[in-house]
């Protein structure tokens, strides 16, 4: 493991067992300074538990978490000073206004936060007209915005956000993405856990995929996408003859009338496309359309989780 001060956050060999169930197993990853890390995984993979341990809401069975070089377990107050967090659904004191909730949390910060600062944050998350309304009148999306507001209130160096886009309308999701990009540009390191893959795709620089409490992938977005299978969609006028060619080439495909969805084998997809076109042409099969469909993050994620899930079930 590299020097923990090189990273904004380092999760090192984290394990958590609860009621004889292994929730996390030897989870390790690091968050680069000024980068956005997407924490992906199916439901029950251990994403929220990881975030909870990162802010010391839970204790790990073993392993450590370091934030800006400070050990969360050994020196919690120093470590947590650097962190803004929204874990699970944002909950507030319903009987207080949004502003008063933030005022109270600001008073718990180690840095001086004025009323003007709070109003600026309220405005930044798009709650300018609702700051003085009691939280019990807020919609889910408004609570989510207030959750983000309380997390960024003290200008933390590390942001940990659990499913932050849940409940946001498209405009809210757009605002959120803009805010996160701005914060990253200002040097904030951000961890976003989400099952909305497209949101992660447009935001994250790095990815960690958790499955069954284990890290099954860690790397950049591009690397994960390359893990997915590309597909070639081919339409011919002689589908029965086409089947023969595909079988000869030992390709995996699905057929819908005269259209074939062919899984592109590993290697250069464009070279494969050329090779197949030549094979069909040489046997006199006219091709109506041929379109290469590159793997999306969703394809890659599903391929990865299916593959790892199959291994885990063996």
């Amino acid at each position: 493991m590299a020097d923990t001060t090189d990273y904004a956050a380092v999760v090192d060999h984290l394990s958590k067992k609860m009621h004889y169930v292994q929730i996390l197993k030897d989870v390790s990853f690091s968050v680069g300074k000024g980068r956005i890390l997407g924490l992906l995984g199916p439901n029950g993979a251990g994403k929220t538990t990881t975030l909870r341990i990162m802010v010391h809401l839970m204790r790990p069975t073993s392993g450590t978490v370091t934030i800006m070089g400070e050990d969360v377990e050994k020196d919690f107050t120093k470590a947590i000073m650097h962190v803004g967090a929204m874990i699970e659904a944002p909950e507030f004191y319903n009987y207080l206004t949004g502003f008063k909730n933030l005022r109270m949390l600001a008073d718990m910060s180690r840095t001086a936060i004025s009323d003007a600062d709070i109003n600026a944050v309220i405005e930044r998350v798009g709650l300018a007209n609702h700051g003085n309304a009691k939280v019990k009148t807020y919609s889910l999306g408004m609570r989510q915005r207030l959750g983000v507001a309380q997390a960024i209130l003290h200008k933390p160096e590390v942001l940990l956000l659990d499913e932050p886009i849940n409940g946001l309308d498209p405009a809210g999701a757009h605002d959120f993405r803009t805010l996160m990009s701005d914060l990253r540009d200002q040097g904030t390191s951000i961890v976003i856990s989400s099952h909305i893959l497209s949101d992660i795709q447009s935001l994250a620089d790095d990815l960690v995929v958790l499955q069954h409490g284990q890290v099954t992938y860690q790397g950049t977005m591009d690397e994960l996408i390359s893990h997915g299978t590309n597909h070639l969609e081919v339409t011919t006028t002689k589908p029965d003859e086409t089947v023969v060619i595909l079988q000869q080439m030992k390709l995996q495909y699905t057929r819908k009338e005269d259209t074939f969805d062919i899984a592109v084998p590993e290697g250069d997809p464009h070279a494969f496309q050329k090779q197949l076109a030549e094979a069909l042409f040489n046997t006199g099969i006219p091709v109506t359309t041929m379109q290469l469909r590159q793997a999306s993050l969703e394809d890659s994620f599903l391929a990865l989780t299916k593959e790892k899930g199959a291994k885990a079930n063996v």
Binding site: M18, T48, R52, V55, H56, L57, M58, R59, F76, T77, K78, I80, M81, V83, A85, I87, E88, A89, E91, F92, Y93, N94, Y95, L96, K100, M104, L105, D107, M108, S109, R110, Q150
Partner: protein
């Protein structure tokens, strides 16, 4: 630390329930005064001890009114104390507190101080209400006369508040243990209130055991300490070995409060904030 306490204090009074419970105690004290005055009964059969037989009617009325209001305050303080902790877990707002740069000892301590402050403020309000009703119905003159131990009613009432606070702090520390370990608000409140009722039964049983077996050390059990009032003294006929002194009572209770508080602190510190 002051900021934490101030936040707890704000939250406490931002809840309607805090005001409603205090209002009920005040109304109950007022009804007691009105009933005593209107019906002309109750004053001579008050909770006051034999040593207060010479006290003025006004003083006795004050102590009766104060006693009726403060008995409700004891129960309400227990309820509010249970709420102060369990509501944070039940509504998941605890994560807002525990992800700030304060350790869990400080968070719990601020809650304990807020519960203590609520108890003290409630008792002081009931004290003032009792003074007002006494003055309105029986005049303020009697309050200046010596009641017992060389104290006039004003001072006697304040010392009574201090005694109630120490006694009730023991309850609150036990409630803290229950609340720190429970997620259910209702369960914590039910257990806490039940505790107060169980207390009188256990005290009687232990007193019988102490006298019959001559196990005088039993006098140091927390229930016995709770039922002791240093202004009233020991029960008549109680052997010296079974008697308590004011200092012994205070030190004993403080030790018990500390023990229960540290148990609550241990539980609160070890507790995982589990999934909602």
């Amino acid at each position: 630390m002051f900021n934490l306490f101030r936040n707890e204090w704000r939250k406490l009074w931002a809840k309607k329930s805090s005001w409603i419970l205090l209002l009920i105690a005040v109304v109950f004290a007022g009804l007691t005064a009105w009933g005593m005055h209107g019906l002309g009964t109750g004053i001579n059969s008050t909770v006051t001890s034999d040593s207060l037989s010479g006290a003025s009617t006004g003083a006795k009325a004050f102590l009766t009114i104060f006693s009726s209001g403060s008995s409700l305050v004891s129960i309400f303080a227990i309820v509010m104390t249970a709420i102060i902790i369990t509501e944070e877990f039940a509504k998941n707002t605890i994560k807002l507190l525990l992800t700030r740069p304060y350790n869990r000892h400080q968070i719990l301590c601020s809650k304990f101080l807020a519960a203590l402050a609520y108890l003290v403020v409630s008792l002081v309000v009931v004290y003032l209400v009792a003074i007002l009703f006494t003055g309105a119905f029986w005049g303020f003159g009697g309050l200046n006369k010596v009641v017992d131990h060389g104290m006039n009613t004003w001072l006697y009432g304040l010392v009574t508040i201090a005694i109630y606070v120490l006694g009730n702090l023991f309850y609150l520390s036990v409630v803290f243990v229950l609340a720190a370990g429970m997620r259910s608000q209702g369960l914590a409140i039910t257990f806490s209130i039940l505790l107060e009722f169980v207390l009188s039964i256990v005290t009687q049983l232990l007193t019988v055991l102490m006298v019959n077996k001559q196990w005088w050390w039993i006098k140091w059990n927390p229930f016995n300490l709770m039922s002791y009032n240093p202004l009233v003294g020991n029960l008549k006929g109680m052997p010296a070995a079974a008697s308590l002194s004011g200092w012994g009572w205070a030190i004993g209770l403080i030790i018990y409060i500390a023990v229960f508080y540290f148990i609550a602190d241990y539980i609160f510190n070890r507790r995982d904030v589990s999934l909602s």
